[in-house]
């Protein structure tokens, strides 16, 4: 299966071509190059998935294939960083997800970004991103994954700040990069601690279940926890930064300043699930050796879900609602991983989390692309400016509705199946957690239908020109993505991706399913009552909740806390001292050297006085000195 190397390299070639020659190519050509290469990548991914899932079973357990593994950097006796391609159920599934969503975004952007300045640059960056993400999921060892992790962060920075003339976009891209970079610092420390004790970077070795390599890591204690616990916790923090878990979620809502297709690709379907992918990749280590970290992961995910869902209810910008919705859904995935165990039925959480990753990528991308279509038609992001669009944009309306039903968890849409698995896994673990997550699911249904009704129902607003349906390049991806949204729920996911690689047939937990559907329907009903007809909208919020409403619409002031910490403590306290030191001591030293040289040179210049006698003096004096020295020393 060496052709998988092409999956990795095609986007890179496209990036280099478009990056270097994009200025000379026309928009159409560069769009064709970008989309064309992605089409090939998608076809190769599907083919690889087909080949892998049908032929790589040994004793009904999927084998890990390493078609390519090249040692790249040798550090010490045992440690070496390789560059390679790893194929196992997890990475093959991710290949399918990434290439599909990326292809749809490429096609969509042909219409959405038409006529924009920097079109070629946009496609070049999209190709770069695809290359980085593919590299991330195909990595054979943790350091290679870290390299591609950083590359993904860079592509995200470039794409968020695409409209670089807008100060808000520039600030948002910086924020995204800095927050994820900050988390990556912990990731790196975790990698180093882990590799120091286990003397390997390789995933295969780390996840083989062999406890001998972790002996040293477990025995070395630091502040009450073993080194292994520290390493895995730090690695999770890195993943939490990329996946926007609380409190590192602050960059994701601001990242909506980028173009909408970018939000669809990066911040809904692919980059933000890199954290989930990381935990899933290292899952055997987490579940077998550091279960306490896994528990922590579950609680962080649960809290983040609820937190984001509450904020999403009161946002007025379409993309912000969807951003918080993404945070909340990734929280779901993290919870599912956190409550999972390893073998057979116990590994339900793992399988459910990845199933949800798959379906969420599809319907969230659809939601974002649909929102982009609406924004493109109305030229504004605010919900107040939209209303009654269902008559004017039928295709967008129907596909958007399908995605909303999916995310709300209504059968037979895909979201129902994946979310149901997660809920039953959490109920098995802890009933309280199950109830909490069901509540979040209810909130999810509420806010997404609030969004839906506000955009497509209600009174039509005045617009500069009447909104019409988007061009075919934009509606085709919507229709294409609606297919998995409808049907993916019927894929027997447990046959493909499970924690211990053995197939697992999914049983429907009817109690949980019925409860969740009822709760969702009730939420939808409430939302329709409030938002479907404009005159019924609550003009005033009940007074008891006013303060809460204000806090939620300001995202619970987390950003302000961050600003406070960075400005007052870091900048004023620490940075100022360092700046003073740099300016006065370091620069002062250099300036002092220069001043001393100047002073010395003025003194020495006196030697060249131009007076002949003076020269003669010096000559004589020197001669006497040398003579005396040669004679007596």
């Amino acid at each position: 299966m060496e052709y998988t190397l092409m999956i990795l390299l095609l986007p890179l070639v496209s990036f280099v071509l478009l990056g270097l020659f994009g200025n000379k190519l026309s928009h159409k050509t560069s769009g064709m190059i970008g989309t064309g290469s992605l089409l090939m990548v998608a076809l190769l991914s599907f083919y690889a998935a087909g080949e892998y899932f049908t032929t790589q079973k040994v004793d009904a357990i999927f084998q890990t294939l390493v078609p390519l593994n090249v040692p790249w950097l040798n550090m010490g006796a045992n440690l070496h960083i390789d560059m390679g391609i790893l194929l196992d159920p997890l990475s093959v599934m991710m290949l399918v997800v990434i290439s599909t969503v990326s292809l749809m975004v490429h096609i969509y952007s042909l219409g959405y970004m038409k006529g924009e300045r920097g079109f070629q640059r946009y496609y070049a960056f999209l190709s770069l991103f695809t290359f980085s993400m593919m590299g991330l999921v195909l990595s054979t060892n943790i350091f290679q994954m870290y390299i591609f992790w950083e590359l993904v962060g860079v592509s995200s920075y470039l794409l968020i700040g695409f409209y670089y003339t807008k100060p808000a976009a520039v600030a948002a891209s910086k924020k995204a990069f800095i927050v994820t970079r900050f988390a990556d610092m912990f990731f790196l420390i975790g990698i180093l601690v882990l590799s120091y004790f286990t003397q390997t970077f390789d995933f295969g070795t780390l996840t083989s279940g062999n406890s001998a390599i972790f002996q040293q890591a477990v025995s070395a204690q630091f502040l009450g926890a073993s080194a292994l616990v520290w390493a895995m916790a730090l690695i999770f923090i890195g993943g939490a930064g990329k996946s926007a878990m609380f409190p590192l979620h602050i960059w994701l809502p601001d990242a909506m300043e980028g173009p909408t297709p970018v939000s669809a690709l990066i911040h809904a379907a692919t980059m933000v699930v890199a954290g989930v992918y990381l935990v899933a990749r290292l899952f055997p280590v987490y579940v077998l050796f550091t279960p306490q970290v896994l528990e922590g992961i579950a609680y962080v995910g649960a809290f983040t879900s609820m937190f984001a869902a509450v904020i999403a209810i009161v946002q007025t910008d379409i993309k912000r609602v969807l951003a918080f919705s993404t945070i909340s859904q990734i929280g779901f995935m993290m919870v599912a991983l956190g409550v999972s165990k390893f073998d057979g039925h116990e590994g339900l959480g793992y399988m459910a989390s990845l199933f949800h990753l798959f379906t969420h990528a599809m319907f969230k991308a659809l939601l974002f692309l649909g929102a982009g279509s609406v924004i493109h038609a109305v030229h504004s992001n605010e919900m107040e400016k939209m209303g009654g669009l269902r008559k004017q944009m039928p295709v967008t309306h129907l596909t958007f509705l399908a995605a909303c039903l999916a995310i709300a968890g209504i059968p037979p849409f895909s979201g129902f199946f994946s979310k149901d698995e997660i809920l039953s896994a959490t109920y098995q673990y802890n009933t309280g957690l199950g109830i909490w997550m069901t509540l979040v699911a209810a909130l999810t249904a509420f806010y997404i239908f609030r969004l839906y009704f506000s955009i497509f129902w209600g009174k039509e607003k005045q617009h500069a020109h009447t909104p019409q349906e988007s061009p075919k390049s934009m509606t085709f991806p919507l229709i294409f993505l609606a297919i998995p949204t409808l049907l993916a729920g019927f894929i027997p996911f447990g046959q493909f991706v499970t924690a211990d690689r053995a197939p697992y047939s999914i049983h429907m937990d009817w109690l949980v399913a019925v409860i969740s559907v009822i709760v969702a329907l009730e939420a939808i009903f409430i939302a329709s009552k409030l938002y479907q007809h404009p005159d019924k909208k609550p003009a005033t919020v009940p007074s008891g909740l006013k303060g809460f409403h204000k806090a939620a619409s300001h995202r619970f002031y987390v950003d302000e806390v961050y600003l406070l910490i960075t400005r007052k403590i870091l900048f004023n306290g620490i940075s100022r001292a360092f700046a003073w030191f740099d300016r006065h001591v370091v620069d002062g030293f250099i300036n002092g050297l220069a001043t001393a040289t100047d002073w010395l040179s003025v003194r020495i210049r006196g030697f060249q006085s131009g007076e002949t006698e003076w020269y003669a003096w010096v000559f004589l004096f020197g001669t006497l000195l040398i003579t005396a020295w040669m004679l007596f020393v």
Partner: protein, 179 residues
């Protein structure tokens, strides 16, 4: 015995007049004292048995160079001026340095050469020997140096003329011919 007396005479002349030459306030006197020093040095060469060197010293040094000096003195001084002397501290310092140098070298000489006195035999070089050595090309023969000396003299002649000639702006003769 006579040799020693003559030597001491000449030595006294040399030392006294050289010191006077450097401390006199008048230039022409200084030049005259130098002349005496040169003649006495020629006498010392004669005493050593180098007749050719004696002749050269008298004719070139005492004759040619001294005349040159006197001529130059008259070219470069307005008549009647006395030369000014330097500041006191410079004089003292150079005196000190000179005496220090003198003592240093004197000590070296005393340590290394005190025992040597003259050989019994007096072998002075004959003119034929000098001539052959001057124009020969074997070992210890000085044809190359001789020729280089002639080139050096040529260069100095040309250089001196070139440096000291008057340029058109100084002399108001439009018909100045180039040399």
């Amino acid at each position: 015995m006579t040799e020693q007396i003559i030597f001491y005479l000449l030595a006294i002349v040399v030392t006294v007049f050289s010191i006077l030459a450097v401390t006199s306030k008048r230039i022409v006197r200084s030049a005259t004292y130098l002349l005496f020093v040169l003649l006495a040095t020629a006498g010392l060469y004669m005493l050593l048995g180098y007749y050719f060197l004696f002749a050269v010293q008298v004719s070139v040094y005492a004759g040619g160079i001294m005349v040159l000096f006197i001529m130059a003195i008259f070219l470069t001084h307005k008549p009647g001026n006395n030369v000014s002397i330097k500041q006191g501290w410079r004089v003292r310092l150079s005196l000190l340095l000179s005496v220090a140098g003198l003592l240093l070298c004197g000590e070296i000489i005393l340590n290394n050469t005190i025992g040597i006195v003259r050989f019994a035999g007096k072998e002075e070089p004959t003119m034929q020997q000098i001539g052959t050595a001057m124009l020969g090309t074997g070992k210890q023969q000085y044809l190359l140096s001789f020729e280089m000396m002639s080139i050096l003299l040529l260069a100095c002649i040309v250089g001196a003329i070139l440096i000291a000639r008057k340029t058109k702006t100084e002399k108001n003769e439009p018909n100045e011919t180039e040399l």
